[in-house]
């Protein structure tokens, strides 16, 4: 599978998923199983992505001091209720600075 195929399927799939929700019959929303899926699965996915992208280097787990410092900065920004973009900038800047200092 080439990267372009992955991108094409992701693009088409993401669009169809948006459309499916908008065009679906209303009773789908009232199904308790559907509601639990909507509530639980994104939480597990997002938490897994945070963990893997913070500690993972390919298939290896590693404590990258700079990346950890960046994530800590993001947590502080979120605790201070900073806007979305400020959270991302804080993470990137602190990671870059920590790396610059050779940690």
């Amino acid at each position: 599978m080439t990267v372009w195929w992955a991108i094409a399927i992701t693009c088409a799939g993401c669009y169809l998923l948006k459309l499916a929700g908008l065009a679906a019959p209303r009773r789908v929303l009232d199904h308790p199983g559907v509601r639990r899926f909507a509530r639980l699965v994104p939480v597990a996915l997002l938490a897994a992505l945070i963990a893997v992208q913070t500690f993972g280097h390919g298939q290896e787990l590693r404590l990258d001091g700079a990346r950890l410092a960046g994530m800590a900065a993001a947590v502080v920004a979120l605790l201070l209720r900073a806007p979305f973009l400020v959270v991302l900038i804080a993470a990137a800047v602190v990671t870059a600075l920590t790396r610059l200092m050779g940690m």
Binding site: C11, G13, C14, L22, G33, M71, A74, F84
Partner: protein
Amino acid sequence: MHDTERRQRTAAIRDGIGVGLAVGVSGVAFGAAAITAGLTVAQACALSLFAFTGASQFALAGVVAAGGGLLAGTAGALLLGARNSFYGLRLALVLGASRQPLRTLVTAQGVIDESSAVAFAQPTPAAARAGFYTTFGTLYLTWNLTTALGAFGASQVSDPAVFGLDAVGPATFLALLWPRLRGDADTPPPETAQLRMIAGGGAAVALLATPFAAPGVPVLLAAGAALVVMLTPERSAPE
């Protein structure tokens, strides 16, 4: 009466432009992170134009960066995109778009976290519509413009990792997850506790699987673990 309506619509439009610009400029982070991950400028721009849902875009770029597992990576990106289906289900009630097929096709591309959040926060359906379309328009233009800028900029730098962009992906996911785990007036404490447990479990499953599974697969296993919790009968918790 009409004054109130107009004021509510103006407030919704202001919200939409504010959120659209603020979140839209983070497209520069996606563009740059995508290049750092090994995607081309064209690939980064294609994702922003057609997938247009940040979390899925970052997830796919992350799998490319980790070197492989494209099938699992695509599945992870789509599972993340599935939350937009649920926004769509709720939005259909306020937007009433399903009566006009062509408009529904265009509206669908705009069903994302931010446009839904702005729409659901409005007091009336008219204000919700104004907020939704303003957020969609502003965010779509800004996100795509800044994706191109970020991607092009990063492609001119020999080692974009020096900018700390590898932290932007996980920080994005953290910012999306945070409000769900913080707990609010709409969420009863037992539910918040359950969500936190699922988040911890998902992270643990993914980390344990990382050394043994192709990149992208650990995240799917975490979603699978959540499905197991979901399918176990829930007797006492409120629905």
